[in-house]
């Protein structure tokens, strides 16, 4: 139990598993949760330290053909790495498993997540989604931190095997994301040879756009590889410079393009290909280029050239190939402010749908609050997400007086009476520092008839999904993972 003025802390083990287009890897870390309030102020828990304990080997993502991931093999890889790390799966308390890039498009992505999620402790986020990938990569590479410390808007481009995930950060927070279907592994070749073994659909688009005649089994020249990689690099560059892309780049976009209402002041490249962006590598011969059986090295070189030509100086990332997995393992977790919940057996809860019923602010009177909230809840139920749990997100009550908090509680209860009869927990996520008193009012109005989870100092938006874990620090706070999208459909 953490008391006023006490310095106590708790350490939890977090794991990040990234199953990507080309590589599968995991990272284990230790997160320290501490009371960051001074002296006699009400304790506030924060994650104060993130220490990487173990970086796994980088494995090739096992696939049996170009259609399905070998789930059995993936599980074996993870088991072996846990053994090498000397960590039992029971010791892992939190983390994230993400399927990224091209692999996410494959038919059995969902099965993989379910198989591996059961692996790592009580509370693991299992998700795939290009926007979330962009955010995690940018956090893992250090771009988000850079934007906060240097007060600049930073774009991080994580160039992996199949996709390039772009995350734009300002003041440490995510400003924008996008994703383009370009990566080092889109064309596979025999190692140290010039023979093409596989051309992915996006690569086919590039080749056709250039008017080249290339097919599987054929030989490719260095000059052709240089041209193709240059075209790919240019498309990536355009997402940053032109924003509203056209032509080939537009065909390759997997999401809407980046918004145009801000200026990017710094660019960072992460991902496996980044190792070649920041090196002195020059393509010498085809056999040298294809040492990994793909276009990674030459694409990296082409990106370096393209950005240099445009006059953009690239910032060095803290992590390259491990950016996304570190983001998943370390940076996906937040700690709530004060909490109140009736039954701790309810947690952890996963994939909670977030609604934000008061975009213009919370009204003054309970009746008005109830009306707005009920509208939103009815709309969601019509969309048939009745199986899932709902979380009501809001910024703050009408004002911070006790009366306004009480009005808010009455309004919420009035609107949610029907929902509560379905025996689902009432979940409130509020940004302002009033979670405990709001929870107190609610539990009295609801006569503690239902599970109640009221957490504060977490910011979520309409359309987010959240996981809430078991309480830590003697029950004071709960870990929360905010997910942007679950299983986003490819464009």
């Amino acid at each position: 139990m953490i008391h006023i003025g006490e310095a106590g802390h708790q350490k939890i083990i977090s794991v990040g598993i990234d199953i990507g287009t080309t590589t599968t890897q995991l990272v284990m870390s230790r997160l320290t949760i501490k009371n960051s309030s001074p002296g006699a102020v009400i304790p506030k828990m924060d994650i104060t330290d993130k220490e990487i304990l173990y970086r796994s080997n980088i494995h090739i993502t096992p696939i049996n053909e170009h259609l399905l991931i070998d789930a059995h093999q993936v599980k074996k890889i993870i088991e072996a790495e846990y053994k090498l790390a000397g960590v039992k799966k029971e010791a892992v308390e939190t983390g994230a498993v993400i399927i990224t890039g091209e692999t996410a498009k494959k038919g059995n992505a969902k099965n993989i997540l379910e198989a591996t999620a059961g692996f790592a402790g009580d509370f693991v986020v299992a998700t795939a989604g290009v926007n979330l990938e962009s955010i995690l990569a940018g956090k893992g590479s250090g771009a988000a931190k850079y934007s906060k410390e240097n007060h600049k808007i930073v774009a991080n481009i994580d160039v992996g095997g199949g996709t390039s995930n772009i995350g734009v950060f300002k003041g440490g927070r995510t400003l924008d994301t996008a994703c383009i279907n370009i990566g080092g592994h889109l064309i596979e070749l025999e190692k140290h040879s010039d023979k093409i073994t596989y051309i992915s659909d996006p690569a086919r688009l590039v080749i056709n756009d250039m008017g080249l005649q290339l097919g599987v089994g054929e030989r490719v020249t260095q000059s052709q590889l240089i041209q193709i990689s240059k075209k790919m690099a240019e498309a990536i560059l355009e997402t940053i410079t032109k924003r509203k892309v056209a032509g080939l780049a537009q065909q390759l976009m997997m999401t809407p393009p980046l918004k145009e209402d801000y200026k990017i002041e710094k660019v960072m490249i992460s991902g496996g290909v980044a190792d070649y962006v920041y090196s002195d590598y020059r393509p010498v011969s085809v056999t040298d280029i294809t040492k990994y059986g793909d276009m990674g090295p030459i694409l990296g070189w082409a990106i370096q050239e393209a950005f240099k030509k445009e006059g953009i100086q690239l910032a060095k990332p803290a992590e390259t190939i491990r950016a996304t997995v570190i983001g998943a393992g370390i940076h996906s977790l937040e700690i709530s402010g004060s909490t109140i919940h009736v039954n701790s057996g309810t947690l952890p809860l996963r994939n909670i749908t977030v609604i934000s019923p008061f975009p213009e602010g919370v009204p003054e009177k309970a009746a008005d609050i109830a009306k707005l909230l009920k509208n939103q809840v009815d709309r969601i139920t019509v969309q048939d997400i009745t199986e899932q749990n709902l979380a009501i997100a809001l910024k703050e009550p009408y004002d911070m007086s006790f009366n306004s908090v009480n009005e808010l509680a009455h309004g919420i209860f009035e609107a949610m009476e029907e929902y509560i009869t379905q025996k689902k927990p009432l979940i409130i996520v509020i940004e302002a520092d009033c979670g405990k008193v709001l929870g107190q009012c609610l539990s009295i109005i609801a006569k503690a008839s239902n599970e109640l989870i009221c957490i504060d100092q977490i910011q979520v938006d309409e359309g987010d999904y959240i996981d809430i874990g078991k309480p830590v620090m003697g029950g004071r706070v709960v870990p929360v993972v905010v997910k942007t999208l679950v299983f986003e459909k490819a464009k």
Binding site: V41, M400, F402, N403
Partner: protein, 299 residues
């Protein structure tokens, strides 16, 4: 009349005398004019109800900054008066004015009393400690821990004894803190404690009191937990910050380490309603573990 008025009157009188000596007698007209000037002076020295906008120190005042974002982030990170530029080697006049204003607010918080209207509105009866006036209260801190004989009588008459929680509201070093925070913390406390089935005594207000008056009150009423809400010493950042002190079964042997304290309760610190809910939890722990202060942390 002020000193300057006196002097003016003397000057005008001697001028009139001189003029009448010379045969000029504008007495009546001059008298009128003097009366006007004097009454004008008087009204202009009354306090005006006009609301003045104080200079805004939450924004930076630096002209043509190299990095606006960075400055905003720095301003957000602290209440300290940074980024307010300069006039030569000194602070700007607006900065000085704001400083004087905040200092005045702090002084008022210390020297003013909690108003009777406020106590009536909050349904709190008031008693005093032994200090004769505010000055004695401020210069002799020990007097703040002792209730007057009249106070002891009143408390015995109006309060329940042998209760689980006694709430005491003390002005301490900021009457402003009490007037600003009590309306939101008190209902949160009473609602939460009642819902938990905890027996709460009759809350009341103590004037010219310090933290340790809670000990005498606790012993007087044989309360299990005394919860005291007291105004904190004001500063330039805020003059309305309040602390909550809690103690389990105080006695003559009570030391400061026996108290649990929550500080910085105000709208820009821990909001009062939220602090109320947090304190309810704390009270439950104290009643459960039968301890407060360091002993509670160790329990």
């Amino acid at each position: 009349m002020t000193v300057s008025n006196e002097m003016e009157k003397a000057i005008i009188e001697s001028v009139l005398q001189e003029l009448s000596k010379r045969g000029v007698n504008p007495a009546a007209a001059v008298e009128e004019k003097v009366k006007n000037v004097v009454t004008q002076e008087k009204t202009s020295s009354e306090v005006s109800d006009e609301i003045i906008d104080m200079p805004d120190i939450t924004k930076h005042w630096i002209p043509e900054p190299a990095n606006e974002e960075a400055l905003e982030a720095m301003k957000k990170s602290t209440n300290a008066r940074i980024g307010l530029y300069r006039a030569g080697t000194r602070q700007k006049t607006d900065s000085l004015i704001r400083f004087l204003a905040d200092h005045a607010v702090a002084r008022d918080a210390v020297f003013m009393d909690v108003s009777d209207e406020f106590l009536q509105k909050m349904n709190l009866f008031g008693v005093s400690c032994v200090a004769a006036d505010k000055e004695e209260f401020l210069t002799k801190p020990n007097l703040g821990m002792k209730l007057s004989d009249e106070a002891v009588q009143t408390i015995k008459e109006k309060c329940e004894s042998n209760i689980q929680v006694q709430i005491v509201i003390v002005d301490g070093l900021s009457s402003t803190a009490i007037e600003r925070n009590i309306p939101d913390i008190l209902p949160a406390l009473t609602q939460g404690l009642k819902a938990a089935g905890i027996k709460v005594g009759t809350p009341f207000f103590v004037k010219n009191g310090r933290v340790r008056v809670m000990d005498q009150i606790g012993m007087l009423l044989n309360a299990e937990v005394v919860l005291e809400l007291v105004g904190e010493r004001p500063g330039l950042g805020t003059a309305e910050s309040m602390s909550a002190y809690l103690i389990y079964k105080p006695s003559e042997k009570t030391v400061e380490a026996d108290r649990t304290m929550i500080s910085n309760i105000h709208r820009r610190g821990t909001p009062p309603a939220e602090a109320g809910a947090q304190i309810v939890d704390l009270v439950k722990q104290m009643l459960d573990k039968k301890a407060s202060g360091i002993k509670l942390n160790k329990a």
